[in-house]
Symmetry: none
Subunit: 522 residues, 2 copies
């Protein structure tokens, strides 16, 4: 049996405290969600946030392979007709085929927050859905606070969702907006509603009781066939149901048909990583299914032992969701990873090569000093190749100096024996310009290389402004995208390192091998 | 009805990858757990880890008010009598009154891992429990991999727990050791076992399916009256059931008697914080019940609503578990958010005050230029107060300049008319030192202010190194923690802004109002 997935990372997820996505990242997340195979991507609330309207505009430049883009909005305001409601107009203006419309179903909210009569609220629900249906949209109706509403006044809560059905809603979603529910109640209430409606019933769960994933599962077991959630469980307060857990639970443990098939599951780990990065959050290594330690095995447990009877120690095969088994005291996982990368680039190194061991030791040592190559394998590849004597940097930064104050930022660099100087809008920009002024004369292909992301965090112990910082840079030259890392107590020094690695990496790629690495993201 | 709690933070929690507790911290956590009112504290595995044996020795210097200390161990090894088993001897040596004994109940593990006959395993379970009972201990028997075992061979799994009961176990705990289960299966299987046994049944859940909390609740609903878990859900791989969620769910939502009463719940937030600190992990601000943002409210409309009817927007009263309501300043916010902050600081501004509207416009304008006040309300408060003419910066940075290269970073600043100069390990450190060299002479209280976090991202359109960057800083002076933001194309300029806001904020707080803001995080 099939269960539809609506992802609301870009709407409910973006409402999480401390999370804000750039327009660029929103587009990239949407494309990744489409590639993952979700059925609906809720892209934002155009009637509330002009930035969300921009997103829908930007998305017109892309065609999605499977997913449908959905815009979120509220039922019309009291005393305003649907056709005059700005919020509904914004949904139509966004140009989507699917609307997610939220309405009140808890009598307390109708009376105390909306301050309208129960009948007026039903009219608001009916009119709004009818209006969008008349304009040819598919309508998913989210009944806000449904479960708490049902607990207080089941008749009224049911009248609301039946009104939505009568008005033509294609799907009726029961929301636990406050995250108040426990699994047994969700099962019971959802089951009652499924019996009363003919349209597809969905569930939308928040995690305030720590049960969002379980509640979603129980909703499906009670007959729901549409689930809403977000990547990594982003969302208001404690978040929404985490789709990276809901989807594998439904597919691998309950045999439901979700996404386009089992192969899509392998994309979960990467999309989880990317969403954390875009949200400015550190990945949770302990996250079920996709966390780095989700399949870790403690010291003493033999590799062979686990490989023989994996089912004795692992609830699922980690490869299914793009994750890997990790042995806490073993570097085996590390060495096979880097070998895969090197092979991809055309370097055929034997696993027994002593240079490989040396390179891995160097990488390990750097990791202890604050480097992280998870998100910046390009730097790890360069380090390994240098250590193995297989590559010498084509671009060598011999000296740099920056002078910076409130008004001006100037940098001097010496690259491959030549001096360059530039003024920039900031110290890193000045260095970048000075460096490229020399480098692009030597290697014109660098003119296509753009810096597409730049992030700084303190990876280790926080010692105020004395802390070691880690700079992550992402580059794109129109064919390949790659990421590098630099670490130092000086943010400029770390930036210079990541920058020169970024340029050296693409020079190595383009000169060593020009066919195999197109469209590969490192 | 009462449900017993066994906390295994110090045993299962300590097995989490990346977590290690010092002996001192273990003792402090044990004392806090006793104060919280848990029934059992599983302190370690003395037969496996000499450090755990030390802990039990150290605990002899303390008397606990309510909790009983328990030592963990395995059933005797095959071919060794109970009295000669070193692991059982270590439990006795630890001097505890309670043993938690783990034994196999999944036939796969008996055959492939233990490599003994099914009957031999039953003997190992029986002998080990009998031996400890004969020495006067209370025995809690943990049936490892019980649920997966029951799924494969229910008769054998049941024989194991019945053997434990016959041997005199006081409590039989069903463990989902791989975290494989979903809530409905836990309910079904636990219910069957409860019917078959006379002793108290307990549950021990892992989070690999993201359902540890829900599974624990379902176990209790099926008749279990003993729950095992850890503070913050620490534990192997993805962790154990998080007691900071299990306990309030059982007490506040299901009416079970847990701990010594409702007042104990208020200690949850503090113990959660302390365990994170001792484990060397960052607190999860999105954690249900105890997270900093668990009761945050973001949208402006919402804030009005929350003040009107809290039960419409909060699943429980945050005060019950020692947490507080929080209003987040953001682009979605109306004026109500900032008013709450200002009121907290003792500024009573009317909602109609025209200066307030001007301040909000300024904040909104800055948000469009890349600022984000979600995580840095201290900056928003300063901006609002300045805009309303209620505060002039006590610290004014009039000029700064940095000279930086690979080897040296020097900064000159002019603050309140005075020059300062310093060398640092990086440009921001140099500025920080130069600024404080002047500022701390003027305001000695700034000596206590530490920078506790520093992050940089590109908030808007990525234009390579020309991009606007956003710097977030977190400060702590031992009484208060606060966060500020700076935005510029220059990472140094943005850092100077966040830094001077950070110092100005605490000067404003300490000079304007010294009582209301202690222990408040902004």
């Amino acid at each position: 049996m099939r269960v539809e997935v609506l992802d609301t990372t870009l709407r409910d997820g973006a409402q999480m405290t401390g999370v804000s996505f750039t327009l660029n990242d929103k587009v990239r997340i949407a494309l990744m969600l489409d590639d993952l195979g979700v059925d609906y991507i809720e892209g934002g609330w155009p009637g509330s946030n002009p930035k969300d309207a921009e997103f829908f505009k930007a998305m017109r430049n892309y065609s999605l392979s499977h997913a449908k883009l959905a815009a979120f909005g509220m039922t019309r305001r009291k005393g305003v007709s649907a056709k005059d409601d700005l919020n509904l107009a914004a949904i139509l203006d966004s140009g989507v085929e699917v609307a997610v419309l939220v309405g009140k179903s808890w009598i307390l909210h109708v009376r105390e927050v909306l301050r309208v009569s129960p009948e007026d609220n039903l009219d608001m629900v009916y009119d709004s859905i009818r209006y969008l249906k008349d304009h040819g949209l598919r309508v998913i109706f989210d009944a806000e606070h449904f479960y708490q509403g049902f607990r207080e006044d089941p008749d009224y809560a049911l009248r609301v969702v039946k009104t939505a059905e009568e008005a033509g809603a294609d799907t009726v979603v029961l929301a636990d907006t406050n995250g108040a529910m426990l699994p047994h109640e969700v099962y019971e209430i959802t089951g009652k509603v499924v019996k009363e409606l003919r349209v597809t019933v969905g569930v939308h769960m928040h995690n305030d009781s720590g049960c969002a994933v379980a509640n979603t599962i129980m909703g499906v077991l009670a007959g729901a066939r549409h689930v809403q959630g977000t990547i990594n469980g982003l969302g208001e307060r404690t978040g929404n149901a985490d789709l990276t857990q809901v989807i594998p639970n439904l597919m691998l443990k309950l045999g439901f048909k979700v996404l386009r098939g089992i192969d899509d599951l392998r994309k979960l780990k990467v999309i989880s990583r990317f969403v954390y990065e875009a949200a400015g959050l550190n990945p949770n290594p302990y996250q079920p299914y996709v966390g780095d330690y989700a399949f870790s095995h403690k010291a003493g447990l033999h590799v062979d032992g686990v490989s023989k009877v994996t089912k004795a120690y692992e609830h699922i095969d980690p490869e299914l969701i793009g994750n890997t088994r990790r042995f806490v005291v073993s570097e085996l996982a590390g060495s096979s990873n880097i070998l895969v990368y090197l092979k991809d680039l055309g370097f055929n190194i034997s696993k027994e090569d002593p240079r490989l061991r040396r390179a891995l030791e160097r990488i390990k040592d750097l990791e202890n000093r604050g480097y992280s190559f998870d998100l910046a394998p390009a730097s790890a590849i360069l380090i390994a190749l240098r250590e193995m004597g297989l590559y010498n940097d084509m671009l060598r930064v011999e000296y740099w100096k920056v002078v910076s104050d409130d008004d001006m930022h100037v940098a001097i660099v010496k690259v491959n024996g030549e001096l360059g100087v530039a003024e920039g809008v900031g110290p890193v920009h000045a260095i970048d310009k000075a460096l490229r002024s020399v480098a692009s004369k030597l290697f014109p292909e660098l003119n296509n290389v753009k810096l597409t992301d730049y992030r700084v965090i303190i990876p280790g112990e926080v010692k105020g402004t004395e802390s070691v910082v880690r700079v992550l840079m992402e580059f794109d030259d129109g064919r390949t995208r790659w990421r590098t890392v630099g670490v130092s107590t000086s943010i400029i020094k770390a930036s210079v390192e990541a920058l020169s690695d970024g340029l050296n990496y693409i020079l190595m790629i383009r000169n060593h091998n020009t066919t195999k690495v197109n469209n590969t993201t490192y």
